[in-house]
């Protein structure tokens, strides 16, 4: 019920011009039309440009602004397409590789950290919690600078130098916090009672964790893996700062360089591929989450919250 539905019906009177105009804007008997307009206008503004960009990745011709017909050449046949252009292809492979390594390392680290933080009750836990939250609010350039200087100036880290390994390490560092926030949220909605019941029935702490807590945590773990994958693919700043040259460029870096130089629809194409990979990952994670938590309490609202705002 909208908040304006509570007003009493007005007696018949002639409406002044002001009342008529403001009546259109703030309609007491129904949806405020002005707000509807703004909301849908925003949605169009936010999404349509991207759709147009995707459309132009299928342009039959070299322009990114003038439509010349439909073609998949920028994905396949054209010598500058993703498939044929070694630079773009390598960037795609490298992005996927980084993302895979990121998931493999950040998720276990994040899950154990989440478990520890959610249950740890003594004085150290506040500091650890703060440390975990910090990367979420640090500007990427600050992280980029600090990691670059770490790997180039501070022994023994200088053995790592810039490059693929440095990029993985950087990605993991900002990904851990996302895993912790997601998994910890799920832990709070699960509560302690199942582990207590397991112990009551004879399960040692290890068994209780393994056979009861972890299965219940699985949807959050899978969802966080999907999100880490998506974040890693989309990452630009850290990848750029820790890159050591053409062999360690990622897709976002290629797009960045192309938009500043001479973009072709191949740029649109690779951007489209990136968007599809990311969205697929996120949707897959969401679906897994929903499939596993169906019927359990606290499922619906936490899903939305975890995938939308990181309500730390």
């Amino acid at each position: 019920m909208s908040e304006s539905a509570v007003s009493a019906p007005q007696s018949k009177q002639s409406f002044s011009l002001w009342q008529r105009v403001s009546g259109w804007v703030v309609n007491p008997w129904g949806r405020p039309r002005f707000l509807v307009l703004i909301t849908w206008a925003y949605m169009v503004w936010a999404i349509v440009p991207v759709i147009i960009a995707v459309q132009f990745s299928f342009n039959d011709g070299r322009s990114r602004t003038v439509w010349q017909g439909f073609s998949t050449q920028w994905y396949w046949s054209n010598p500058d397409s993703i498939w044929n252009n070694a630079e773009l292809r390598d960037a795609l492979v490298h992005s996927l590789t980084l993302a895979a390594w990121d998931v493999l390392i950040a998720v276990p680290l994040g899950v154990t950290l989440a478990l520890g933080l959610a249950r740890w009750r003594s004085r150290g836990s506040g500091g650890a919690n703060f440390l975990m939250l910090f990367p979420l609010v640090t500007p990427e350039i600050v992280m980029g600078v600090s990691l670059l200087l770490l790997f180039t100036q501070l022994p023994p880290f200088t053995h790592i130098h810039t490059g693929g390994l440095a990029q993985v390490l950087g990605h993991v560092t900002f990904s851990i916090s996302y895993v912790v926030v997601i998994v910890r949220g799920r832990m709070f909605s699960i509560g302690r009672e199942y582990e207590e019941a397991a112990a009551d029935l004879g399960a040692s702490p290890g068994v209780a964790l393994w056979k009861v807590l972890l299965p219940l945590l699985m949807p959050a773990i899978v969802a966080s893996a999907a999100i880490v994958f998506a974040i890693s693919i989309d990452d630009f700043v850290i990848s750029q700062w820790l890159s050591s040259g053409p062999s360690t460029t990622t897709v976002p870096m290629e797009i960045y360089d192309a938009t500043r130089a001479a973009p072709t629809p191949a740029t649109n194409a690779i951007a489209t591929v990136m968007v599809i990979v990311t969205l697929t990952s996120v949707v897959a994670g969401f679906l897994v989450w929903r499939a596993f938590t169906r019927g359990q309490h606290g499922a619906k609202q936490s899903t939305m919250r975890d995938f939308a705002a990181f309500d730390v």
């Binding site: 112990a199 009551d200 029935l201 004879g202 399960a203 299965p215 219940l216 359990q296």
Partner: protein, 372 residues
């Protein structure tokens, strides 16, 4: 199944500055249905959790059949719990839930099967074996939780307000079922509740608790009819608590002055002197015509009559100012007294109890008419 005797010796639990359990001594013989009753925050759940092993006592001992298990982890105690929220594992079927404990004990497979089937049959949930907990109603989950705990044949079963989440009718039905189950299985049940009616219905003995201490331990009848303290009197139904000055014993009964009136209290600490409280249950209060006289008759005026269906609550303001609640059974005859009528209130001395602790202050009974 022998044993199942639980002894709590000087049990204390502190959470930082806060003392939840302040020195409890309890003895629960094997096979008894024992309830811990009290308002929220009185320490009953904390005590139960210490017996289960989820909290470690700050001081004291917890003996099971003579052995102190206060420092044994919960998974090694021969004690099982039915949780308030049932805590059935959501990712397992009903059958797997009940089998969980047996599998931890490395029971051979065919034994597991027969025992699980038997346990589910005992709570009439065998048809639901393949379902998941989310597909069951509250009452059904409750039964599965029971089966899951009982299948392990523990020495003691702990129940933490298990019927709290159910509606009134289902609760009454399950109370009877639980009591029957306990008598059938024969093990000690330790039951925590804040609902005094529940405790009175089901228990062999009740421990009434308040602020981390035990006020009284006794069978239901004794706790209700012969409360040891004002708290117990007031917690279990309406107590008609009144202030009085005791003047010592006079042929087996206590002489008490209530306002200007002299009453003879036949129960409680009859030899006491000084400031006391007296209590009488509403169903023992007799209403007499205003011109009648006799021992323990006090004049008053009917302030309100509340119709309860099976009885009438008559709230009377006595001559000295305090109010009293009388419960008059509905016999089909019309009630003689209406609002505003003068009346004499008769407090039979064999039902009037004097209590020496002044812990609980009398409440103006006319303000809120508790159903009891």
């Amino acid at each position: 199944m022998a044993g199942g005797e639980v002894k709590l010796i000087s049990l204390v639990k502190k959470f930082g500055e806060f003392t939840a359990v302040d020195g409890i001594d309890l003895e629960m013989p094997g096979g008894e249905f024992f309830s811990m009753l009290g308002p929220s925050g009185c320490g009953k759940t904390t005590t139960l959790r210490m017996i289960a092993g989820f909290e470690q006592p700050t001081e004291g001992e917890i003996l099971l059949d003579g052995e102190n298990m206060a420092y044994t982890p919960p998974h090694r105690r021969n004690v099982n719990t039915v949780f308030q929220s049932y805590a059935l594992f959501p990712h397992m079927t009903v059958w797997d839930n009940v089998a969980f404990g047996l599998r931890r004990q490395k029971t051979p497979k065919h034994d597991v099967r027969s025992r699980v089937d038997e346990a589910l049959g005992m709570v009439q949930m065998d048809r639901f074996a393949k379902r998941k907990p989310s597909q069951l109603s509250g009452g059904q989950q409750q039964r599965v939780a029971l089966a899951r705990a009982l299948v392990l044949k523990p020495a003691v079963l702990l129940l933490d307000e298990p019927l709290g989440a159910l509606d009134a009718k289902l609760r009454k039905q399950l109370q009877l079922e639980l009591k029957a189950l306990q008598q059938q299985v024969g093990i000690t049940f330790i039951y925590v509740t804040h609902d005094q009616e529940e405790a009175l219905t089901m228990s062999d003995r009740i421990a009434v608790m308040s602020d981390g201490r035990v006020e009284q331990v006794a069978p239901p009848q004794e706790v209700y009819e012969e409360p040891a303290t004002t708290f117990v009197a007031d917690f279990l139904g309406v107590s008609n608590l009144m202030t009085a000055t005791a003047e010592g014993e006079s042929d087996g009964r206590c002489l008490v002055k209530v306002g200007d009136f002299e009453l003879h209290a036949g129960r409680g600490d009859v030899a006491t002197k000084g400031e006391t409280r007296i209590v009488i249950r509403p169903e023992r209060v007799r209403l007499e015509p205003s011109d009648a006289t006799g021992e323990n008759f006090i004049p008053g005026m009917v302030e309100r009559v509340v119709y309860l269906g099976n009885a009438n609550q008559v709230i009377t303001r006595l001559a000295h100012g305090e109010t009293l609640q009388a419960l008059v059974q509905n016999t089909g005859d019309e009630l003689h007294y209406r609002q505003g009528d003068p009346v004499k209130v008769h407090l039979p001395s064999e039902a009037l109890r004097v209590l020496t602790d002044t812990g609980v202050a009398p409440v103006d009974e006319s303000a809120a008419a508790p159903v009891g």
